[in-house]
Each structure stands twice: as structure tokens, then as C-alpha cells.
Subunit: 133 residues, 6 copies
């Protein structure tokens, strides 16, 4: 039987993240402005894509939301998307992932994806440094 999906319980609010990390604040503010432009366009198919994306990281499945956010980080780092990396680091942090868990997730992406991941990893470590200070 498939358990029902539900929103994860975050240890930290979005606002607490912004207060702790200037890198996170800058990223989240820019993302907010841009998402507002996307929302206003009201593109139906895109809204469904956003919705599926949201549902992929909920609690109630076989894997904890935290594990899935760390997996989102792995996929994002392997595909080298800075904004996606920032987002999943922040979500994993908010769900209680330790710094060591974040680093090991990035390690997997770097082993699989190679040294081209390294510049993204360097920027990720700057964000990790602020969040786990």
C-alpha cells in the first residue's frame, strides 16, 4: 500500500535560512522575483511541471523527504546546475541534514560527474560554510 504524500516538516523556516546565510538570501530573493514573473505568465503546462516537481520531494514515500532532497542535490550537482544545487542544499539543511551528509552527497555527484563538477562544488562549499557556521 502506497502511503499518502504530505508536506515535510522543516526544522528551519525560509526566513531563518536567509538570516543565517547571505548567499542563501541573495539566491532566494532572486529566485522569488523570477518565480513571480513565471507565476504571472500563468502557463498551464509549466504549472503542472512545477507541481510534479513539488510532489517528488514529499514525505510519505519509501524514502524520507530529506533523503530525496539530498538526491536532488546529487542530480543537480551531476548535471551542474548552480541554482538547483543551492536550492537542494537549503532544503536539505531545513530538513535537518548534517553537513557531512551534504558533503557525501556532493562526493557521489563529483565521482560520477568528474572534475567539471568541482567549480560548482566550490560554490556549494561557500554556501555550506554559511549554513553550518
Amino acid at each position: 500500500m502506497q502511503k499518502s504524500s504530505r508536506e515535510p516538516v522543516f526544522l528551519y523556516t525560509d526566513e531563518q535560512v536567509r538570516e543565517k546565510s547571505p548567499i542563501a538570501r541573495s539566491f532566494l530573493e532572486q529566485r522569488e522575483v523570477q518565480n513571480k514573473a513565471v507565476d504571472e505568465a500563468n502557463n498551464k503546462l509549466l504549472k503542472r511541471i512545477y507541481n510534479v516537481d513539488h510532489n517528488a520531494y514529499l514525505e510519505g514515500g519509501a524514502l524520507a523527504a530529506r533523503t530525496k532532497e539530498l538526491m536532488g542535490l546529487v542530480a543537480s550537482a551531476a548535471l551542474r546546475c548552480d541554482d538547483c544545487i543551492n536550492y537542494h542544499i537549503i532544503q536539505s539543511y531545513r530538513l535537518g541534514a548534517s553537513r557531512a551528509e551534504q558533503e557525501e552527497s556532493i562526493n557521489i555527484a563529483t565521482v560520477v560527474g568528474g572534475t567539471i563538477v568541482v567549480p560548482h562544488l566550490r560554490r556549494a562549499y561557500m554556501l555550506l560554510g554559511e549554513l553550518y557556521a
Copy 2:
């Protein structure tokens, strides 16, 4: 019989685009400076690559130039290249593509390419917002 290739007729000049959109202006100015550096190097093979690239988007084939610019947008978004996305959005706009056509093209790229396309899509919507204001 293959119809002869020819330059497309643009509805808007490059200058009109720069006046309408600060994002487009900033992108086109930077591109101009960089292309000048490339031109001065006078690398023969590279000039041929530029030439083939130019010829791929001409009128006179089976598909209209506008459709091919939108396809250039699809390929650029699928491969996640911000500068390429900006360029093909501007060219499609100059050839009379509607905002809805641009959005649907980006949708195809996002469905095929996944949510790692989303950060690029967000930036694309900022440009679309200025061009179609």
C-alpha cells in the same frame, strides 16, 4: 528542388530590441564586445562554424526562419545555455513569434530536459516580460 536560402525579414531592428529590453541590451552589448575579440583573431575554421550557424536559420527551406529560431531556442534551453536562449528569444521576437509560441517552445525543452532547465526558464521569462511588455 531546394529553394534558395535568403536572409529573413525582421519586424524589429536590433536597435529597437535594445530600446525595449534592458536585459536584451546588456546581453547584446556584451556579445558585441566578445564577438569583436573573436573576429579580430580571424580564426579560419571558427569563421566557417559561424557561417554554417548563420545559414542554419535562413528563409527558403522547408521550415520558416521563425520556426527554426524557436527550434534554436528549444535546443538551447534543452542544453541549458543562457546566452543561446537569450539570442534565440530575441531573434524569434524580431521575426514576429508571439509570446505564447516562445513559452510553448520552452515548455517542450523543459519537459524533455527536466527541472534543471527551470533556472534558465526563469531568466528567460524575465527577458520575455520585457520584450512583450
Copy 3:
């Protein structure tokens, strides 16, 4: 006003495609077996992804279904996915795309994506050769 989405009208049935092209038949048969395995798993999130994918290529939007299938071909070729290329070539063919339109779409993907697209393009031409014989 957004027009309502609806299924496109195909010029050729799936069966007619299989009869015309052994490459298409082989691909569609294998895909059918594999999709059956996916369907039986009944993974909710995956079904939603399949559903969004289906909706991206419907009629009733700003672009014709045929144009969007050709764009799916562009994205698939740029990202070098043989099965996706086969699928979108077949769908474009079924919707009445000419061989020249298919070739120009692949040209855009090859210019943008480079010569690593060429091995996929070669295989695509084998399929085009059968479909448009």
C-alpha cells in the same frame, strides 16, 4: 484566451508506421514491452510525468502539434537520445511532417549540439529512409 488542448489528428496509424518501416516496428515493439513493465509498476509520480509529457504535444496551443513534435525531435537530438529521436520522427511523420522538415529540424540540433549528434543523425536517416520511401 488559452484554447483547449486536444488530441492531434494523425494521418497514419501506429500500425501503418510499423508496416512501412522495420526500424520503426522494432523500436515500437520494444517500447511497448518496456512501457508495459512501467505501467504494471503503477508508480504514481511517474504516471504524472508521462501525463505531462503527453500534454506537451497536444493541439490547441499557439504551435501546431506537428511543430511541437519536430521540436521534441530537436531537443532529443540535441540531448542525443536515440529512442526519443525515433519516437518524435515517427510522431512527426504521422502528423504529416515532410522529410525536408524533419531534416531541417535535425540540422538545427546538429548545429547547436555539434558533431557528437552525427552518429544519432545517421541512425535517424536510416529511419527517415524507410518512412519516406
Copy 4:
């Protein structure tokens, strides 16, 4: 304090996997032949790469070996590498991952990486079908 790395304890041997799944057997046999050719070349740098790769998936870190194998699956699916997907599905299975955990990991990769992941996912489901029969 960093815990010492150590080999994970597998629930199933490589031989049991081969007996249960013809797809796994075929993959592992081919991989064995090819790895033999690589081993004989005795390329020093490559041996170090293999070694780092091996160390990335050990027990004793912040994440369980099973979770890291599932993350290897996520990265492999996001980067669309069939052999890598097969390998990490098998390793995750041998470490006790449930089928639902495997599917959710693939879901994350498909959401992030898009429908170009789907052909790889279809083949992955054929392997999952045999392993979890």
C-alpha cells in the same frame, strides 16, 4: 571525528544476482570481460580513479552505503548511463534497498533530468522486474 571506511555487508552475492536476473547476468558478464581488458592495461591513473570510485560507496560515513548506491543510481540516471544505472540498481538491491526505494530514486532523476531519462528508466524497470520478482 570521521568514522573509518569499510566494505558494506551485502545481502546477496554477485552469483545470486546473476541467477535471479538474466539482464543482470548479461550485464555483469560483459562488464567482467571488459574490466579484465582494463586491468591488463595496468594504467596507473585509471586504477586510482577506480579506487576513488570504490571508496565513495563504502560504509562508515555519514550516509549508509545503500543510500549512496541509490544516489549513484540518481546520478547515473540523470546523466543517462545505462551501464551505470544497471550497476547501481544491482548494488542497491544487494544492500537491501526495496523496489519502492529504487523507483523513488529514479523518479528524482527523471524529474530533474526530464523525459530523456525515460528510455533509460524503461530499461531500468525491466531489470527491477527481474530482481524483485
Copy 5:
């Protein structure tokens, strides 16, 4: 002053390669059939792309043709294109590259591109084994 481009002098003919390596023979035969289908289509833009591609690997520039073929191998392995890898290994071999040079080129691609390159590398070593037997 730019030296004039010219065809490289091969140490081995295409036929000698086919006689030495069954893997090379199989690849070259299939490529020949497929290229014939591409040639018959007589797509102008595609012929120009093929032409630029040919010109990129000629003698008479700053780098020897052999070095550029090895660089083609690096790019092909980094982008994980088996047919491209086969082609550049064969061309490098025909131009006198040693096995060690081929392996070091592949090493660079694997370090930069990560372990997802490894399945392609394994297949490349099977071809190297036959060519340098």
C-alpha cells in the same frame, strides 16, 4: 602566417584497420552504410557540417593532425559518444599514436568527465586491445 591545410599522411589504410580489428571492421562497415544514406539525402547544410568537421583535423595548423585526433577522442569521451570514440581511436592509430598516448587522452576525459565515462572507456579498451595487439 597561417600554414595551408592539407590531408594528413596515414600510416595505415582503412582496410588494414579492418583486417586487424573485428570491432573496428564492424563499426566502419555500419558507419559506411549509414553515411551512404546521409549522402544520398544530399542535405546542403549537413554537407557543410561534415566539411567543417573534416577540416578541423587536417595537417598544417599549430597542432599535428595526430594531436587533434587525440583531442577529438578526449571531447568524444568527455561527451560519451561511443561511435565518436571509436572513430577518433582509429584515426589516431592510423596517424601513429601510441597506445599509451591513447590511454592518457582517455584518462584526461575520465578525470574531467567522471566515472560515467568508464563504461565507454571499457569499450574503448576492447578496441585498443585489438588495434595494438
Copy 6:
């Protein structure tokens, strides 16, 4: 017999590069700050990845360090990583590569990787312009 690996002899120091090129200075300074954050984290696996990476570009193998740095440039441009491109251009310059050699290496990556490489190539030419002024 495999020759022993050893550090390459650079024609220019890191400091001379920074004095000659503002782009290089800005890149190297940012990289230094970020690498410091990575070093402080003291992640064992990551240190091994850095170490393997360092060893891939040493003298004493079949290919000169300069050739391998140019190959690192090819892989970086094909995979479209600006920081990696900057780094390998600088290292190649420090090892005595001519501007023509750098351009031809980038040409190979652009032919193989397509016009999506062009925006990265434009930025690379800005750096080349400063280093070879």
C-alpha cells in the same frame, strides 16, 4: 616501462599571469578563496579526487604536460565549464602553449560540441586576448 611522473616546469608563475591578465587575476583570486573553504572542510574523498586530478596533468607520461592541459581545455570546452576553461587556458599558457594551439584546441571542442560552446569560446577569447597581448 612507465616513466615516473613529475611536476611540469612552468614558463610563467601564477603571479605573472595575474599581472598580465585582469580576467585571470579575478578568476584565480575567487578560486583561491573557494578552494580555501574546500580545504578547511578536509573531506577525505574530495582530497583524493583533487589529488587524482593533479596527477593527470603531470610530466613523465606519453604526452607532454602542455598537451594534456590543452586536452583538459578541450574537455572543459566540450562540457562547457567556464572556470575549467579559464584554468586550462592559464595552465597551457604557463607551459608555453602558443595562442594558435589554444585556438585550435577550442576549435576541436566547438566542432564536436556545437554552437552551444560559442558563448564559452567568446569568453575564452577575452582571456586569450589578455594573456597573449
